[in-house]
């Protein structure tokens, strides 16, 4: 009886198991569209952090006076920065929408014995977001 052995594979011992462990590819996240969406969702956190940093720098330059703010704005006018900010904005939107849609799975509320429907929790998040955005916009555009 011939035995086919690959290099480095362990020899079979009668009555002993010899399991085969499949290697998980480094590119596992390219196999399925859903996995790719997941990895992009996770990567969007980098862009969220970037947005936070830019906002902090903006506020910091505001605090330093109108000259500092003008210099900041000029740096931001650079087409590369505009492109980067646009992409970041899209990722932050993606992050927000996926987060709000998933929130009801984590926050299960029971009102009077019955579970609050998922759509309601998601919607209330969106409404709060829009409300706060409206308030901030009113302040800025005044």
């Amino acid at each position: 009886m011939t035995r086919h052995e690959a290099k480095g594979a362990t020899q079979y011992t009668p009555y002993h198991p010899r399991w085969y462990r499949t290697r998980v590819s480094t590119y596992w996240w390219l196999w399925k569209w859903y996995y790719l969406k997941f990895v992009l969702r996770e990567l969007s956190s980098i862009f969220v952090a970037y947005f936070v940093v830019i906002t902090l720098l903006q506020i910091h330059s505001l605090g330093r006076g109108p000259d500092a703010y003008v210099r900041f704005e000029e740096r931001m006018r650079n087409p590369l920065m505009i492109a980067l900010n646009a992409i970041s904005f899209l990722f932050v939107l993606f992050h927000t929408i996926t987060w709000f849609n998933l929130a009801p799975r984590a926050m299960v509320a029971h009102l009077g014995g019955k579970r609050v429907p998922d759509a309601l929790i998601a919607c209330s998040n969106y409404v709060a977001w829009l409300a706060i955005s409206a308030v901030v916009a009113w302040f800025i555009l005044r």
């Binding site: 009668p14 009555y15 198991p17 010899r18």
Partner: protein, 164 residues
Amino acid sequence: MDEDRRLKKQLLEKTEGREHIATIRDEMQKAIENGAGIYRTGTSLGDAAARLRQLQQRYTNTVLDDRGLTFNTELIAAMELGFMLDVAEAIVRCALHRTESRGAHQRTDFPKRDDEKFLVHSLVHRNADGSSRVEHLPVKITRWPPGERVYGEQTQAKDVQAGR
């Protein structure tokens, strides 16, 4: 250890043989379904018994596709088939012996329930020469005495009869 050796010789290492486990199992299922269903006759049971005897003979002539030592489900199936053939033989043998109808055993050639002869448990034994014999074990009635199985309007008549 002896059982281990017997199994290996009889099943794992055998190379001659022309029957497959699945074929015999299918035919056993058909034989019992046709011959020993809920409604059965002496003839149908006799046919089933002959068929099963044939199948038990063919079972000794089986060969396995799977000779592996790791998770060999065909070997398990082969062992179980041997036992299933024995159980099938027991079913048919007792059904032939019981010339009455009772519950799920409805002999269309003996439609009535016969409590004098057959209010017993049937036990099947294997004789030394390979044939089988049926013996009786008395039944101990505790809660439910035997009665007619009737449905619908007939239950009311039965209740009246029983004084309920």
